[in-house]
């Protein structure tokens, strides 16, 4: 009996992401994924129950890796502003290092299929943000607005900028990045 081949699973996931980013969710078939991953269509079903399960698994894994990347080097008792900046830079670095990850995630999370995921499978992605913001509000450093609102201003524009960066080749130099961080901080901080 052969053992399940982890590289095969990875190849399938990678192929799926590449094709979805290139041709879109609507034009990515199991046959094309199989060909791109150099396996038989039937093999995909050894690793994933069905197409939806494959897509959702990919999304969850991508989100999980993003999460891990953002928390890198983050210390519990770090100062708010510093922590905020670290996460911001981690996220941007991740976007640059794995542009296909968030291009995929953005397409996926705006399609109805995302609704089939039970919230808490991905929710923890934003947990560190939320904890940080919570602490910042208690310390009187951050604005006293609803959590979702602050998260939206703190990190969502960065995603948008990264998307432009990747898709349209609009580069951001260090100055731009500095400006962007200032905007984000001014948006959420009590000045």
């Amino acid at each position: 009996m052969r053992l399940k081949d982890e590289t095969k699973r990875e190849a399938i996931l990678k192929a799926t992401m590449v094709l979805i980013n290139t041709y879109g969710l609507a034009h990515t078939s199991m046959a094309k994924i199989a060909k791109e991953a150099r396996v038989s269509p039937a093999t995909i079903y050894i690793y994933f129950d069905n197409k939806d399960h494959l897509l959702v698994s990919l999304y969850i894994e991508v989100k999980r890796e993003m999460n891990r990347a953002i928390l890198d080097s983050l210390d519990e008792d770090i100062e708010i502003h510093e922590a905020f900046r670290l996460m911001w830079e981690n996220l941007y670095a991740y976007y640059l290092a794995y542009p296909d990850h968030f291009v995929f995630a953005e397409q996926f999370c705006n399609a109805p299929i995302v609704d089939s995921i039970q919230k808490d499978a991905v929710e923890d992605f934003f947990t560190p943000f939320r904890q940080l913001i919570d602490r910042g509000q208690k310390e009187g450093v951050l604005k006293n607005a609803p959590m979702d609102l602050l998260v939206a201003f703190a990190f969502h524009p960065l995603t948008q900028l990264a998307k432009q960066h990747v898709k349209e080749g609009i580069a951001m130099d260090d100055d731009d990045l500095e400006s962007a961080f200032s905007c984000a901080w001014d948006a959420v901080a009590i000045l």
Copy 2:
């Protein structure tokens, strides 16, 4: 005869948006659109060259209407902060009034198909924003950051909030809206 035709065209576009918002780009076929619009599949091809053309047409029309809505009551020589606020409120009002429009737009603009649109067909959507920001920078009211960066902070979070509002039923009251506007303004303004 002319009037009847326009009705049919609108029915097709509406049906397309409904199905895409409900089932996604990947699961919206011409046959289903035809059935939802109560026309024959062949009839769709009288009004649109092919499926891509139909989708792109829908996207452009939606973007055009958004644009029109945002500019509503906007005077050329209005003060920056006031203009900014007016557009913000117009956009939010539009999101509430036509939630399916921007849910569709968000799904579409994150799919690769959007790349097939020549930029200027939709670009003008942000033109008034850009002109406003340009003026604000010259008057020394707005930060001197790249245009795209300021746009991203000024309006993108609102889209994100509206999405949560629509998809997850997370309501925003007047206070929240006021807070959100403050965040947006603080993000882009020289304080």
Copy 3:
């Protein structure tokens, strides 16, 4: 707009029966049916909802035609023995004329798919037999056994003989047929 083509429907049904009789229910695919009927696989779905519906439709039509054939020339006030003989001969003539019909029917009615048919869609096939037997019992000509029992003896052996006739080339001459009818009559009649 083209009109639905009755000959196309018939070609699909005929092709289905031929393939099922030749290769069996288990090896008759929609693609093969389409090829045999010289239509596109998709065309089959214009005339039948799905494969099951196609098979069931074929079975019901075959049973209906059998029914019609058996009742041929049957008069209401004919004498029991005479009526019995007429139906018997009609059935045998039908078997000889349309051997593929009952070969198909025998395969189909022994497969679980037959259970998906609501009884009364086919039930009427045996109705004239039943009425005849009912009358025969009242007149004291036929044995006073349960209906199903008499039907089983009166007509089922004939099906079995016809099957051998068709499948194994075991011919029955006029004498054999006469003998067979005698057996059937002796089985059910009060002597």
Copy 4:
């Protein structure tokens, strides 16, 4: 080791019969059989060359067991009528005891796959009937009709009644059974 093997072979055969009776020849795959028998798909191929071989083996074994059951307690020099009755009752008892056996056999023997069996592998099933009938004709007790004809009348209706019994829950009490036997006897005997 030997014992364990036989168990596995039996499990595979039993699973095959159960699935075919439940879902039909057309919807019984090797994978499903393996799962039902709690073995690996590959294991089936240790005991049977291929799917056809498995099915045919099952059919032959079922027929062989039927044969054995019918001959139970049958004495060579028993009187015709008595022997006839004994076999009849044996067969009926077998149908009641192993309904799945003959439900399977009926489905299988009406499918074209049965043609791939060399006749003599199963033929002997009816041998005792045939010998009995042969003797009966010589003794002038049974009608002088072709063998197949008498067999068809003597035993085939019973199969049909048993099928109704099993599939539709139409019960037969002792009186019915007595009636049925009378019909069968009257059909074939010289009265």
